[in-house]
Subunit: 368 residues, 4 copies
């Protein structure tokens, strides 16, 4: 049975029979923590679709919002329903939506873009100047229902598990980062083995990297890196990254590095471990500005450095779809927890502890 083409009972339920309110994880006020609130069920505006949420992933950004860090204080305007990674079933089609049917299961791009700025008009929607992010700037998917622009929906590949369908957004970050340079036949480093780093290991392998070397400081995460099929892992709390890469690659160095940690030393090490002329793609967000020996690490080596945000809309999704459906990409080892959405505080705590890969939430009334 193809999950994406068969309408379920839910989808056949008339809107009038749908509940008026629902449970949602809401950032209700400026300050730490979240609340589980009863809020109105949204409806699908023009060009939108309404989804019954099936699974949702918890992201480092959610942790920032939860702890109310400086970035959150500058960006979030409570109350807002959190959650920007999710899969759902279409239960309502807004005016003008013709490309989807009720009952289809879709994953969602979280960037809602303006389609009018130069970036949007030249195929760079991922850096739209007017981006609004689901679950950050507008209500997201940590809820029973969520309304999203139909153009943000991607039919979930039918042959993959529902928890994977639920985290295609962060997987897309990994694909975008990895695909921002050559992979085929390359030696690739992945610095930082949080969920997106772990995904990136699997992506690089499935996309034809000949050798993938991953680093982190947490044994738990390095073990997950091995399960994601890294050819070698480096515990940088104990070993020098550059020296080890030099040994593993027999002095040739890395062709590319995917920086997933935001840690200054990881960026410096990644650059130092690149062969001359290599590329480093930078997704991990540093906590604050930090310095670099530009001459030695970048200029004299002729390095290309790519700042990465979001996903190419929708080239990244097409690539990801191919990798998941046909390319043997399996990210399940990196999804370490599936739990009820109700237990959001526990999920956040898990993330904080570092003893988790990706944590997936199941909305109220559904079995994992």
């Amino acid at each position: 049975m193809n999950a994406s083409t068969t309408a379920t009972p839910e989808a056949r339920t008339p809107a009038s029979a749908r509940p008026r309110t629902m449970k949602a994880v809401v950032k209700g006020a400026a300050g730490p923590g979240v609340e589980i609130r009863e809020v109105p069920v949204p409806s699908a505006g023009p060009g939108q679709i309404l989804l019954k949420v099936l699974r949702a992933g918890v992201c480092g950004t959610d942790l920032h919002i939860y702890t109310w860090d400086p970035w959150s204080q500058g960006r979030i305007r409570p109350p807002v329903t959190m959650g920007h990674e999710f899969v759902g079933e279409i239960v309502e089609l807004g005016a003008g939506v013709a490309e989807f049917k009720l009952g289809e299961r879709v994953s969602c791009e979280s960037h809602v873009v303006c389609e009018h700025c130069i970036a949007c008009r030249t195929g760079n929607g991922h850096v739209c100047e007017n981006t609004k992010i689901l679950g950050v700037d507008v209500n997201g998917g940590f809820a029973e229902y969520v309304a999203v622009p139909a153009s943000n929906a991607w039919r979930a590949p039918g042959n993959i598990p529902i928890e994977v369908q639920g985290v295609m957004e962060p997987l897309g970050n990994a694909v975008h980062t990895a695909f921002s340079g050559e992979l085929s036949g390359c030696r690739i480093g992945v610095t930082g083995c949080g969920p997106i780093g772990l995904f990136a290991i699997g992506v690089a392998k499935a996309a034809g990297a000949s050798q993938v070397i991953a680093s982190d400081i947490a044994p738990y995460r390095l073990e997950l890196a091995r399960k994601m099929k890294a050819d070698a892992v480096i515990d940088v709390s104990k070993q020098n990254f550059v020296t080890r890469v030099d040994e593993i690659t027999e002095g040739r160095g890395l062709d590319g590095v995917l920086e997933m940690s935001g840690v200054p030393q990881a960026l410096r090490d990644g650059l130092a471990a690149l062969r001359n002329g290599g590329r480093l793609s930078l997704l991990g967000l540093p906590k604050e500005p930090f310095d670099l020996d530009w001459n030695k690490l970048l200029i004299f080596k002729g390095i290309s450095l790519h700042g990465i945000i979001g996903r190419r809309m929708y080239q990244t999704w097409y690539q990801m779809d191919n990798l998941l459906r046909f390319g043997g990409l399996d990210i399940r080892p990196a999804i370490t927890h599936v739990m009820p959405m109700e237990r959001i505080d526990e999920a956040i705590a898990l993330l904080k502890s570092g003893n988790a890969g990706k944590v997936v939430l199941v909305p109220w009334g559904q079995d994992a």
Copy 2:
């Protein structure tokens, strides 16, 4: 033991003790056939190395020279020792050669380029205007010894079988063709399952293509295509290529096609099966000019078509090296015969019959 770093007895033999003559497969005269002749052992000139040949591959080009087809008549100036695919052990270093040691095992790039034309000076040595090809324009490797420019030698990866080391030149054709466009996460067609087409299937898979669809008309070759891990094979003597691709890709079409057959219909089918905006890389040499519906197949679809010859010098070799050593590329299923060089007529006949993949020759006095 690393094959590439240990000098064998042969390499330690002083030049004075080397025989003065050797056996070689020589195109001795204008007309069909070849001869096995006793010829002088060459010596390594300035910048050259002398190799004791260990294995050599037979190529379609050798078949052309053997049968003395029109192309051969225009190009070959007999007598010339044939053979442009081989691996050997260095037994003599010419003046000025410092980057190699006696006893190292090396595979060889067959294009001897001028290093002075615009192509050579701008990183496009593979289309050097003054290319001389080993075994075609100058004496090649169907012999006990061959002298080659040191800059054409590539240390043979130590972890792969010697018969694979012997055919890195045609494997490089496959890598160059495949790598002339995107592979990662792509749906790739390979039209024509001769040896290079078979190699290309393995290359595309190892380099991250999500789906590889191969076509031919010979059941023997389609079976080899399956062994090389094609996701689907199409017998175009029985099935319509475009229709089958459409079914297999669920209407999306191919992202790229590697045309390895030189058959007009294969090019037309390949173009028709591409998604709009796709690319087709053209290595197979058609026997004669043929027509195309340019509008329908190329312009309206926004296709990019790449003419491919040789191997990027030496980026292709670096990529190939990574794929063979670390990337899980195994081309052994496509090497169907290993036989004494003495039996060159039989090898040529095998090639002609279509009931062979790559045929590898073992020089006199060595065991396969």
Copy 3:
């Protein structure tokens, strides 16, 4: 005064005061010729804008439709208002259109694309599988008014003449063709000096080609090529293209060729005149399939061949905007005639004669 920001009286006229009917050049029936008909003034549907047409260009495609050639017979469903190149002033905004104001002057992309196919979703809208073309598949701009999707409109650069604003669509073909490979510091050939070829000469020069060599068989067009600042022109009715290019480039050959003629020999000559590793971009539509010596012209030379259609949406427009506003691109020498739309038969005859560059039409009631 900036033409694009000041509402004219027309734009301030309420819709109720607008006439109910208008004049239009209509392909009224299967067969040669066109009619000038009185037809209803369209209105702006959801997401559309209504334009008062100010200028419209006549294209080779219009000539095909006029003469009712085989392509037209297969594509056109009369009656349809012709005209796919035009500039107009916005006089009505459809529901949901927020990014434009009444009175703005806009040029139009003629491809109305689906936004849902793989091509559209991956930044290749110009090869959308479901493209409808204004003036071909739906009513176009050879009329007093035309309704178009707001997303197809591009604010006309204010510092350029209105007749140039009227032909940005075909200029975009030239930009797309030229920009499909490197131009900066390159030696570029342009084969065929019809209007788009002439535009391409100017584009290549303004975009940094070091040398532009143009060819045609018509002295009238070669003279226009000189006015567009070609560094050299070749009358291929009298001179051998390849020989002349060889002389002009001192044996180096061309880095790129823009094929604008659709003539088989022009493609063959263009390929032959390329340096090894060069690129040829193919916009000109051949009348029928024709053959090529693939080995000699494409494969042995390592050429890349790009099929070009339409304009990148909307990267091409952004590039064109920069070239026109800041980059010194002036295409006026290629616009040889401006005449009343009423005289469409004369305009078509001019085009047919070859004694015209681009012909621009002025709708009823306006002064040129």
Copy 4:
């Protein structure tokens, strides 16, 4: 008369008649300053050519060596003849040199590369791991004669002034930086108007940038920037770079920035002034490490940053040749001083003062 093809009396002088010693600007000892010494005339070793130096440019690197800064202390091993930018006439051909004739005038690539490392073997010789630089690591061209590898020589374009032929090496830096991203139809910023920055302005314009905006703090250099045809100049001691760029580009920002100053704020400003998705190429060498707000300036904007060193060997030279011979590039306004090599101290002082563009030296016994 073509300067590059006519042998002068000097070239016809037999080697035996050449003087045994010559004057040279030598870094003779660890510490500030240079000496003019009488040293032996070198001879052309195998693969080398001997040049009678005609003109030589003074570079910022020479200033570093002169003042004996920390970089020099770590790199220079006195005594060494300085000078890495020069043009000369071939007066002797070493063994094996066949591609040049006596009397030809050639400019020189200053990077002597190993041709064996991965960088060299994959078309990235400019980042060869074993680079030796003429005038830095081995004797250079501030002398009457200099011996260089024949493969480093480039026939000087005959239609350009001799002082321009003398500074093709630093011009190549500008070309490499500019050409490391798109230029055609782009809006390009150049931060820093030293000699290479000034060259880059001319290069970007000649290569098809639609708008070039240059910045510096020295009125003298900004005036030269205007003479090099910058469309706008910004005195960043008085105006905010980002604000001014925003005004000049009407809010669109820059497509690319060429960072030529090594000043931290220039890099930060350059990144801030880029449109999202833009590129910055970094040639200017910072004096020491400095910090960056990676998130705001690089990651959230999706910027690509390229470290640039040297020149692509020899693609950059081919591009430069085209620009100089055919592309209308004229860098003479940036060459502000031509003086006898004897006056090296004065030349260095001029450079230090900031009141100079490029300074060119004329060896002993020649007229400027």
